[in-house]
Point group: C3
Chain length 161, copies 3
Amino acid sequence: MGAIDRVASLQGGIVQLNAEYARVIDDDRLEEWPDFFAEACVYTITSIDNHRRGMPVGLMYADSKGMLHDRVTALRKANIYERQAYRHLIGLPAILGEDERGVRVETPFLVVRIMRDGRTDLFATGRYLDVIAETAGALRFRERVVVCDSSRVDTLLALPL
Amino acid sequence: MGAIDRVASLQGGIVQLNAEYARVIDDDRLEEWPDFFAEACVYTITSIDNHRRGMPVGLMYADSKGMLHDRVTALRKANIYERQAYRHLIGLPAILGEDERGVRVETPFLVVRIMRDGRTDLFATGRYLDVIAETAGALRFRERVVVCDSSRVDTLLALPL
Amino acid sequence: MGAIDRVASLQGGIVQLNAEYARVIDDDRLEEWPDFFAEACVYTITSIDNHRRGMPVGLMYADSKGMLHDRVTALRKANIYERQAYRHLIGLPAILGEDERGVRVETPFLVVRIMRDGRTDLFATGRYLDVIAETAGALRFRERVVVCDSSRVDTLLALPL
């Protein structure tokens, strides 16, 4: 039961981690986004259909912090953020368990997209499947699999979710 | 003040209860949905207009766990889940008080519907009016009245909210 | 570190404050809305574009509790609430710091609008930039700057966000 108690005490930290994660994306501080991940990490965006089929690679795939930085550089060059912004609403995390890699957590999300001209639409919903571990005194994602509810997201996808 | 302290300490548990409740619906594990209710329970979906008029029965009504199981069986036969899925975003619970039946809680929600072809729309918003009690060491709904903000929901309604 | 500990202990209270704030607006108990503010307060609604330019006055501006009461009286006379209602989904607060005025907090929000005929739309998203202080044993807003993500909100704006 000691492990379960420890997991429970992590909940406040996980909530803060998600709140900060959403802020760096929505505030256009993308350069800080990779800092939420461990050096060796997996970040991937997929759809529920691909995820159910066990397909390994989705709409976007990175397996190191360096690849996340590269992604940000590419987005800046393409001026993606000039044309749109996101607003994340992240739900309450369900802590599913813990193993030697970290704590496994599932958290629902909803992302609204705001275009430069003010048009607003419901861009994506889904859930984060995370493995979270403490490194150097802070919680970091070892794995964040973003499972979108709709397979229609892909063609529009630009910014991190 | 002892009762109020106890209510406050329940808040973490109520948040977890709602997170798990949303997951079984959104993950298509409908058969587990009745387990969130006490044996003798009330589950009803209504609109704010009906609720204000004090109308007793809404769009859906069940007063036992058995009726909830019957509802799931009917949904499976109709293959409702083949055609659509939900994503719940459940807000923060406001604890309103406590009496001999349990803790009275009000919690806002938003449900997005994802159709099989990927179309996504804002399906329903509203609030849960709950009576929650501890039975056999777990929090369970003795009463969950789902008050939808819009009276337009009814004709489309299929899955539990 | 004592200040940081105190800030952390405020988080539960801030969550409750936001939950209650949303309820008085969404339940059409507008007359209670000014009570969430200190006597000397700032409440303003602005857009991200105006906010970035440091423009002092936005779509709505009040610098006392009395002005908030006046606003409610005007809304009642115009029968705004007869025609529409809101549903707030308020995200998790990020506590940014504390100074002599109070605790600085940033919290994302999403507001859905429900028209009298049942039509529902995503009305506004954005974030609250707050200064929150304890007065007479309760947490109150000294400052609530509502920064809307879209500049399209203004022409439709009626109720408090």
